[in-house]
């Protein structure tokens, strides 16, 4: 189920584990490209920017059972930036929650893979999201319920940077420390681009980690494309016994393909068959690089 878990000896990942997570992230990216190209358009940017996080969560950190998605002992993931659904679906399919063939149904009429995450449609989706800010509160509620019952499950929450414009996030930012939700680990995908342009030009967020720290969180700011750094930050968060954790992921929107990386237009982007081929070429090359790293060791 979660092999890396067993091999874990300390807070650091072995080199082969790191490579495995990088490969997993790249495979998620490739599936995202295929899904979006299949229907021609989709939320590409915010999907590609969180694949390294998803690789660490589903590849090394979270407890789950693909055969029993609502297993009580599982860790929960609320992707509050619900439009990143394609990346989550790809990760879930790669981990066996559903057949890989289902990914091609993204946003087709009657699909179980809608643009925005829906707990009643997709196995492995823990919370319905899509109206920004709301996953923050539901994740806090899920964390609170587990705490009330004395359960040890971890609750993970992924927020978008643009999403932090929503007041509801800051209501929750006050609420979670008040209720000592140390079982809650939140991430912000700080790619510095929102739909209309750079976050700094629309509604500047400044030092997100400092803001959360001031609100009473244990906050870290890391390279969101470094799987070891993500893993280590989560391990540190898990040691915190009082405070909820915020891990700011400094990322690149549309990461992984030159046709999308760093462009505001990649929020909801069209992808042609030619562009898909181009992206997959780049991603295959990246995969090869990861393999070569291993061989050279």
């Amino acid at each position: 189920m979660n092999d890396l878990k067993e091999q874990e000896v300390n807070d650091m990942l072995e080199k082969e584990q790191i490579r495995e997570l990088k490969r997993f992230s790249k495979r998620i990216q490739m599936e995202v490209m295929k899904m979006i190209a299949e229907i021609g358009v989709g939320h590409l940017g915010g999907s590609l920017s969180i694949t390294d996080l998803l690789a660490v969560l589903y590849g090394a950190e979270m407890k789950y059972d693909p055969k029993n998605p609502r297993w009580e002992g599982r860790d929960w993931l609320v992707v509050s930036k619900g439009h990143s659904g394609p990346a989550v679906y790809a990760a879930l399919a790669l981990k066996g929650f559903m057949p890989m063939s289902r990914l091609a149904t993204l946003n087709r009429p009657g699909t179980d893979l809608p643009s925005h995450c829906d707990r009643n449609h997709t196995p492995g989706i823990d919370m319905t999201t899509g109206s920004l800010g709301q996953g923050a509160s539901s994740a806090a509620g899920i964390a609170l319920a587990h705490k009330m019952d004395g359960k040890k499950n971890r609750i993970y929450l992924v927020l978008g940077d643009g999403e932090l414009d929503e007041g509801q996030v800051w209501e929750m930012a006050l609420f979670a420390p008040q209720h000592r939700l140390s079982n809650l680990t939140a991430f912000v995908d700080y790619n510095r681009l929102q739909l209309d342009g750079p976050t700094d030009e629309i509604c500047a967020l400044g030092d997100i980690a400092a803001k959360f720290r001031e609100f009473g969180w244990y906050a870290q700011s890391i390279d969101g494309h470094d799987v070891s750094a993500i893993y280590e930050a989560i391990e540190k968060a898990k040691k915190e016994s009082e405070k909820p954790s915020m891990i700011v992921l400094n990322t690149i929107k549309g990461n992984g393909w030159s046709g999308s990386a760093g462009r505001a237009s990649c929020h909801n982007q069209t992808v042609s068959k030619e562009q898909l081929a181009d992206a997959l070429r780049e991603m295959e090359a990246a995969l090869k690089e990861i393999e070569e790293e291993g061989e050279n060791e």
């Binding site: 707990r119 919370m127 109206s131 539901s138 209501e171």
Partner: protein, 327 residues
């Protein structure tokens, strides 16, 4: 199910909020999943005794209604049965999207309670006086919408909805109501109660207007008009059978609500009648106006929610029916 109608309809001694808290405490005694949430109105809502007795099952979120509804949805995802209260306008206007998406659309199990319906907000005035709360909630698929009439009904409905999975909105008077039912009465959600039968017109009333409708029926009877009185406490799903039967049996309808007639009880009844059995309908309720400050009697008269207005509306409905028959 047995409903016993009280012999006399007098103001109750017990406040509704006391029954709310007592019933939740009774439920929590045997169900550790009951969670009471509030947005800094536990004192106002009288749930401090619950908090004192079940501190682990009480969450005072502070003044953050949107977060509270989301937290409630999250709690329900893990099997809790949250009752989330704030004043009606903040529950429904301010946190509408949270109730919609994190609650109803996500198929959660949250009991939303909005207090101080309509004119009962009294001195809090227009900002706090929800004439639209039921209408807002009515537009959300899967929501069941309730307005308990008195303490006996409130106690029964709270016990029931705690055990039924799904999204509920209940508007709730914090202070006293007029007693309509005997304690121990058991109601069926979705089924209107016939308080009085009559052949000439039907008064379909809810909440504050129920006792007024009963008074109006008495006055009308003295004038030779026999009115049926229905207490339609479930606004959604509406009791279509009772409404259609009333139209068929009496040929004229008056709705009476402490709410805007637009998107309110009058609208809901008219929707049923327009499709199944069109008859003259008069609507007593707030005629698309904002609330204002004042004592209850003053506001009830100012917005035309009392007996004389209902009597006049009934006479008009009956005359429209006669007029139609003569044509």
């Amino acid at each position: 199910m047995s409903i016993r109608i009280a012999a006399e309809h007098l103001p109750e001694k017990k406040e509704m909020r006391r029954v709310y808290c007592e019933t939740l405490m009774e439920l929590a005694e045997n169900n550790r999943n009951i969670v009471v949430l509030d947005a800094d109105l536990m004192g106002a809502m009288g749930t401090k005794p619950f908090q004192a007795r079940f501190p682990e099952q009480a969450v005072d979120c502070g003044i953050q209604e949107a977060n509270m509804m989301g937290v409630a949805a999250g709690l329900s995802a893990v099997g809790k049965v949250p009752f989330a209260h704030t004043f009606g306008p903040f529950a429904t206007r301010r946190a509408c999207d949270q109730i919609f998406v994190s609650g109803a659309y996500a198929r959660m199990n949250v009991k939303v309670v909005g207090s101080d319906p309509g004119i009962t907000a009294m001195l809090n005035g227009g900002t706090h006086m929800p004439f639209e709360d039921m209408g807002i909630m009515r537009g959300i698929p899967t929501m069941t919408i309730l307005e308990p009439t008195d303490c006996a009904m409130l106690r029964d409905l709270i016990r029931q909805i705690a055990g039924i999975y799904g999204m509920y909105y209940m508007r709730l008077v914090r202070k006293t109501c007029v007693q309509i039912y005997e304690e121990g009465s058991e109601f069926e959600i979705g089924k209107a109660v016939m308080l009085r039968d009559g052949s000439d017109v039907t008064l379909i009333a809810s909440g504050f207007c129920t006792a007024e409708a009963l008074k109006a029926a008495k006055t009308l009877s003295a004038q030779g008009i026999e009115a049926r009185v229905l207490n339609l406490f479930t606004w959604k799903p509406i009791d279509t059978n009772a409404v259609v039967a009333a139209a068929g049996d009496t040929g004229a309808i008056v709705t009476a609500e402490n709410h805007n007639v637009i998107n309110g009880l009058g609208s809901a009844v008219a929707e049923v009648l327009a499709r199944s059995r069109p008859v003259p309908v008069e609507m007593i309720g707030v005629q698309d106006r904002f609330g204002e400050v004042g004592p209850l009697d003053y506001l009830a008269d100012r917005f035309g929610l009392t007996e004389p207005y209902i009597v006049e509306a009934a006479r008009k409905a009956v005359s429209r029916k006669m007029h139609k028959n003569m044509e």
